[in-house]
Structure formats: structure tokens, C-alpha cells
């Protein structure tokens, strides 16, 4: 059964009771062990791949050296023939035959290394995909368990403190009331600031033309005329 299915089944089936795990601790440990094993396999496969690739490069280098050598000896054989030195030409031809056998061997080794490298690369990719999948599943199990444990701690805390989570609408109502009260207080404070009795009286006196008046051009002019 997939982990996803297991989680759904366990939660639906009420295995979500505190203490009852989705996947028992032993399975989780086995799972973690599998992840560690996979990681180890990938490391080994990568080391093997490096070795195979190094061998392949070596084979390819030797092959090209042999091919160069074959070409070189073919030149020598032609020169010997041109000089009419058949005996020397045959000797060179024998060398060429030997080089060609070696080249064929190297060619074969090269191809076989290339195939191994491809196979190992494919294996590593597959194992890495598998590892990602294991890790994703383990995260799911651990998260589910962690949420269950957190929920049980929260529930215990509420029952211990003899309080409980309020009804959603009541909670919202109370928060809104608090917010409204806060806003009202703020407004009241602003009003109070601007309407102290002293300032209020000053305003009334000013309106009645009593006491200190705001300076206006007219009042300045009147004052100058009276001098």
C-alpha cells in the first residue's frame, strides 16, 4: 500500500488517536535504513562509474595511438615496397597485423566500457529517483505524526487549563468588538485632545470678539490709524 493511502486510511479509521502511529516506529526505522542503504548504493555506483569512465578513456586513448601506429607502419611498408625490399615490407606487415589485433581488442574494450557506463548512469538515475520518492514518503509520515502530536499537546493544554477553543463566530465577534473598542478609544482620545474645556472657552470668547483676537490686516490698520 502506498504511504499516501496508508495515511488516509489511518486518519479516516481513527488511528489518529494520540500515541497510535500511522506507520509504527519500527517501520519508520526500516524506512530510514532503506534510505541510508540507497544512498550508500548510489555512492558505490558513482565510484564504479568514475572507474569505468576512466578505463574507457584509457582504452580510447590506446586505440587512437594504435590507429596512428598502424598508419605510420603502413607508410613504412609502402616505402619498403617502393624500394623493392619485400622482406622488410613483410616484416612491417606482420607488425601491422599485430597492431590491428590489438586495436580490435581495444575497440571491443572501449565499446564494453561505454555500455557499462551507460548502464551505471541509468542505474544511478533510477536509484536517485527512488531515493527522492522514499524521502518524500518519509516526510509525509513524519509530518502527519508531528501534526498529530502537536494536536494532542494543544488539546491536552486546553483541557488542562480548563478552557476550550471558542466557537468561530463568537471568537470573531469578540475580536471585532475589541477592535471597535480600540478604534473608539483612539477617536475619543483625539477628540479629547482637541476639545479641552480651556480651548473650548477660548473659541467661544474669540467668536464673541472678547480677549485676544487673531491678527488681521484690518486690526493692524485700525491700530495704526488710532496712533
Amino acid at each position: 500500500m502506498s504511504i499516501f493511502k496508508k495515511i488516509i486510511t489511518a486518519v479516516r479509521g481513527g488511528a489518529s488517536e494520540a500515541g497510535e502511529a500511522i506507520v509504527d516506529a519500527n517501520s519508520t526505522r526500516i524506512f530510514e535504513q532503506e534510505i541510508r542503504d540507497s544512498e550508500k548504493h548510489i555512492t558505490i555506483a558513482k565510484r564504479d562509474l568514475t572507474e569505468v569512465m576512466a578505463k574507457q578513456m584509457q582504452a580510447a586513448r590506446e586505440l587512437s595511438q594504435l590507429q596512428a601506429s598502424i598508419k605510420e607502419h603502413e607508410g613504412y611498408a609502402m616505402q619498403a615496397l617502393n624500394q623493392g625490399n619485400e622482406a622488410l615490407a613483410i616484416e612491417v606487415a606482420e607488425k601491422i597485423a599485430e597492431l590491428e589485433t590489438n586495436a580490435a581488442d581495444q575497440q571491443q574494450a572501449n565499446e564494453s566500457f561505454l555500455k557499462s557506463a551507460d548502464r551505471l548512469k541509468e542505474l544511478i538515475k533510477k536509484s536517485e529517483r527512488q531515493l527522492t520518492e522514499y524521502k518524500r514518503q518519509l516526510t509525509m509520515v513524519k509530518t502527519t505524526e508531528s501534526v498529530q502530536k502537536a494536536t494532542s499537546a494543544i488539546t491536552d493544554n486546553f483541557s488542562a487549563s480548563n478552557s476550550k477553543l471558542l466557537n468561530a463566530k463568537d471568537s470573531l465577534e469578540r475580536i471585532k468588538k475589541k477592535q471597535a473598542m480600540f478604534d473608539d478609544k483612539l477617536k475619543a482620545a483625539e477628540q479629547l485632545e482637541s476639545e479641552t474645556p480651556e480651548q473650548d472657552l477660548k473659541k467661544k470668547l474669540q467668536a464673541a470678539g472678547i480677549g485676544a483676537q487673531a491678527n488681521s490686516a484690518q486690526s493692524v490698520l485700525d491700530r495704526l490709524k488710532n496712533k
Binding site: K142, S146, A150, L166, N167, A168, S171, L172, I175
Partner: protein
């Protein structure tokens, strides 16, 4: 990151907050550490923070199964699904018989990211209850 670092940061923010809110944090004992975060003025809907191997989970409880008008439950769920993506940073879920909004953060999140997450989650939870009240008793 652990809940005590988060609690210390939030409790001492006072006027230096980036979000304009004050917080009151209380750790809850249990098999795993849970931090109860109350935003001042919104104490009725606390947010619970827990930390696992690879993520920080912040959960706010919305309402219980028993608060839903049963004949409207399917409509409510559809409305919640439709609202899920537009709702910033949070998603809906159900834990036992309670509907919740939650946000999951990387274990490497900064304290400022966590503060923003908590405030957004709180705003979202108030808005959701307000928008969904026709489905609730």
C-alpha cells in the same frame, strides 16, 4: 530554528514590529514542542507553531465539524477549495474534527518571514470566518 528562538523574538518585538502587531507566546509541553502565539487583540484565535525535521508549521483552528450547518457542508467545502489559492500564504486543512488554516515554512526561514506568516495567517483566519459565516451555526 526552534520554538524558543521564535518565542523570544516575537515577545521582545514590542514597538519594533514590522507588522504592527504585538505577540504573546507560550510554549506548550508535549511529545513535540508547540508554541502558542497570541496576537494582542486577537487572543480568541491563537496560532500554534510546531517544528519538524524539514518545516515549520503554523496552524490556526477555525471551526469544528459541529459548528457547520450540515445541509450546507458541501457548499462550504467548495467555497473553501475555491478560496484556497487566492488566500495568501495559507491553505485549508482538517485536523481531526477541526477545520484549520495553516502555513508551512522552510526550516531555514528568517524570523521576519515567520512573523509575516503568523500575521497573514491571523488575517486570513478572521477573513475566512467572516466570509464563511453563512455556513456556520
Amino acid at each position: 530554528m526552534n520554538i524558543h528562538t521564535i518565542a523570544t523574538h516575537l515577545n521582545k518585538l514590542a514597538d519594533d514590529t514590522d507588522t504592527g502587531f504585538n505577540f504573546d507566546c507560550t510554549p506548550i509541553d508535549g511529545e513535540i514542542d508547540v508554541l502558542q502565539v497570541e496576537i494582542i487583540g486577537r487572543e480568541e484565535i491563537p496560532i500554534f507553531v510546531s517544528i519538524s525535521d524539514n518545516q515549520i508549521l503554523c496552524i490556526a483552528y477555525l471551526w469544528g465539524e459541529d459548528e457547520i450547518k450540515s445541509e450546507l457542508k458541501a457548499n462550504m467545502m467548495e467555497a473553501m477549495l475555491e478560496m484556497n489559492i487566492p488566500m495568501p500564504l495559507s491553505a485549508f486543512a482538517k485536523v481531526e474534527d477541526k477545520y484549520v488554516v495553516f502555513g508551512a515554512l522552510s526550516i531555514n526561514s528568517s524570523l521576519e518571514d515567520i512573523e509575516l506568516e503568523l500575521v497573514t495567517l491571523s488575517d486570513n483566519s478572521l477573513e475566512v470566518i467572516s466570509e464563511m459565516d453563512s455556513y456556520l451555526n
